[in-house]
Amino acid sequence: MMAQELLHVNVQASRSELAASDTAQLLYLLVEIKPPDTYHGARLPLNLCLLIDHSSSMRGECLDRVKAAATLIVDKMAATDIVSVVAFSDRAEVVLPAGHLVNKVAVASRINAVTASGGTEIYQGLATAMRELRQAVSTKRASHLILLTDGHTYGDDDACLVLAEEASRQGISINAFGIGPEWNDHFLDRLVAPSAGQSVYIETPGEIISHLQACIEGLGSIYAQNARLLCDFAVGVRPRYAFRLAPIAQPLPIDDQEVKLGAVEGDSPLSLLLEVVVEPQLPGKILALPLRLITDIPARQLRDYAVTHLLQLPTVFESTADNIPEALLTAVRALNWYRMNEQVWHDVESGQLDVATLRLRRLTTRLLEAGQKELAQQAYAETERLLNVGTLSLEGRKRLKYGTRSLMTQSFHLDKS
């Protein structure tokens, strides 16, 4: 570990040396970022906007639970926090304008008065929520938008994604919670990507409160934000895929060797898995793989604080077998399951049902081998459905996608314990 005063960066690699090869090869890096052990920082004030979908499909228990969760969160906010609530359907309305909370009872009453009606146009809500948040964006606060929705947005996807990019540039992170089976997980993943937020699957309304509480607790313990990892690697070496394992599993976008990481919490390390492609190399070289972490640390009033971890790997004629770190291995295994499942959906969407069926059957086998019975049964049920009906269920899609994702976090935590 490279000890630094304000952030520790620890890296484990799948190889200790690289074979000089005439074909490209893969290298996996498990990166852990955490504050120093001596850190016991004060809570960073929040600038939070709850964006609630109140379209007709939310009618009943779903909206009731969302309102209850929103009321609970508002109740837990500190006097230093700034909170706003926006409800949207095909229009948006400000339920609670951005400001410090003075009368929580009155706020609860306003939230409770929201009723279900209309369609789902996320852009309207997103634009209104952004206006509320912008009023209090500051380096001394963590600015977050939390979206709760149960449906597809219609015709405004691209406009939403432009807003998400803008939010990221302004230091606002977006977290999205999809309730039930209907919402578009691909779209929500893209919506949270620019700010490296999280998209979460809430299967039943009963789980809404616990998911939101966990999210708010994480936001309340932020130590560093706007973190980026610059992979300034040697020529012919590039990161191909990045995935945050903890605290919440989420694929991370790579933009010109830079990976956006989002926030680093004070209580739990941020861990990510990097898949790196190494183009053919000559023997006798030392490949430099510097990982430069750049982030803001509000408690220290620091912007673009940087720390570098330098990994160096020799290239040899013939590499010896490595003892691969167990934590890295379990994470890569779970990542592979996640990607196999994603590929199944790609196969189905491109009409290759035979290929999808075989792949899903193989995934079932692997999950069974690993003792993941519930997910294996879900995969098996979807295989049967694919064979009999030629399609997969929306519930199955989300259970398998978010189930395999969460295995990455679970396996990582198990290895850490």
Partner: protein
Amino acid sequence: MITCRECGSSEYEGALFCSECGASLFSGGDESTAKLPFSDTLRDPMPPPLLGQELEPVVEAKQVTFVIPSSGRRVSLNLEEEIHIGRADPSRDRQPQLDLTHDSGAEYGVSRLHAAIQSSHRGVALVDLNSTNGTLLNNYRLPPDLPYPLHNGDEIRFGRLLVHVFFE
């Protein structure tokens, strides 16, 4: 590039798991056979006759042909004293005469050393070699390590993989 020994997919050197079938690609990886829950749902078997009784001789049979409907493959083998059926195990340098690896054997729950066909002057018998997911002969589950008579046109399931047997 390296080749996955389970499914034949080409993968990058340094890859730890096959992107196509999920098999381990590094040395020391997990090589167990998954215990499938599905075969448990089949009906309770009636016991077929044991080998202790007289077997029906397979007259003039010199060759056995296995037909695997799911992959469309036909494999003909000379009737030897013992024919092993399973999946190739390169780490132990074991290669069963009937290798079901490329018939998606792992996905169907075929063990590496799953079953054997034994041939003697008394006839031909099928033996389950204590496989993870069991062997069904004409839908009857065989207890492990006991030989059961095999006839022309019999239907065998190694795990869930259906195979028809013909003698020539």
